[in-house]
């Protein structure tokens, strides 16, 4: 189930500002209260896919003497996030209504 929504989660996380891969993973775990616990290596290819689609952009950055690839949302990424968020809201409201 998470697999189909990983892109949405990553875009949502990057809306908070540019982040590198490790920060993305820890952010997912923290913000979800530990409910989202993926193999950390799956995030890197997911970010690459978003970048290939023009939804995020990345560049190398050095801080504390460490080189990291930092990802940021693009304009297309913001538009895609808004559209997917709307779809998710409709979907989750539908599920809630059925389960109520």
């Amino acid at each position: 189930m998470l697999k189909g929504h990983l892109d949405l989660l990553l875009l949502g996380l990057l809306r908070r500002g540019p982040q590198h891969g490790y920060a993305v993973i820890t952010g997912l775990a923290e913000l979800s209260g530990g409910h989202i616990d993926l193999p950390e290596g799956t995030v890197c290819p997911a970010l690459h896919k978003l970048e290939a689609g023009g939804l995020v952009a990345s560049e190398w950055s050095t801080s504390d003497g460490r080189k990291r690839r930092v990802y940021a949302l693009t304009g297309d990424g913001r538009a895609a996030l808004a559209a997917r968020q709307e779809k998710w809201s409709l979907f989750s409201r539908g599920v809630e209504a059925v389960l109520a």
């Binding site: 193999p39 290596g41 690459h48 080189k67």
Partner: protein, 153 residues
């Protein structure tokens, strides 16, 4: 960094499994190492950081799926695998087999290359009348002039 460092071992495994372009392979390795070192910097045990990152093969498969694999990389392995049986076959087939192989190569990449291949690689068909020339070719006559050779009957 030691040879037993789990992160180094993991990156070696990942390198073996990755199939993308050299630039993409370097990027995935660099990002993976940065991620693992960040985790260790956060106090995670290196072995645990590697475990949480996921099996190297699974990660590589996911990366390969995203980036695509260049045709040259896809073809390299089967071509190399085919080289040994092809070379053995070339050496063992008859003259007719070699002509047929050359014809196939000619059809595939051009007649000039096929003929060149045949002239270059075809081994001579030795016969009895060639035997007296072998010692001379090997330099034996110069060193042992008293020895003469003949084909055994």
């Amino acid at each position: 960094v030691t040879q037993d460092d789990p992160i180094e071992v993991y990156l070696d495994q990942l390198l073996v499994e990755l199939r993308g372009s050299p630039r993409m392979v370097r990027r995935v390795l660099a990002e993976s190492e940065a991620h693992l070192r960040d985790a260790v910097g956060d106090g995670v045990d290196p072995g645990e950081a590697v475990r949480r990152f996921g099996d190297a093969r699974s990660v590589a498969v996911a990366c390969n799926r995203q980036t695509g694999v260049p045709v040259s990389v896809l073809l390299r392995q089967p071509l190399l695998a085919a080289c040994l049986p092809a070379s053995v076959g070339w050496r063992t087939t008859s003259g007719l087999g070699q002509w047929l192989s050359a014809a196939l190569v000619s059809a595939a990449v051009g007649a000039a290359f096929g003929m060149w291949l045949l002239r270059t690689l075809r081994h001579p068909q030795y016969a009895e009348e060639h035997a007296p020339a072998w010692p001379e070719a090997a330099g034996w006559r110069r060193r042992r002039p008293s020895i003469t050779w003949s084909w055994p009957s």
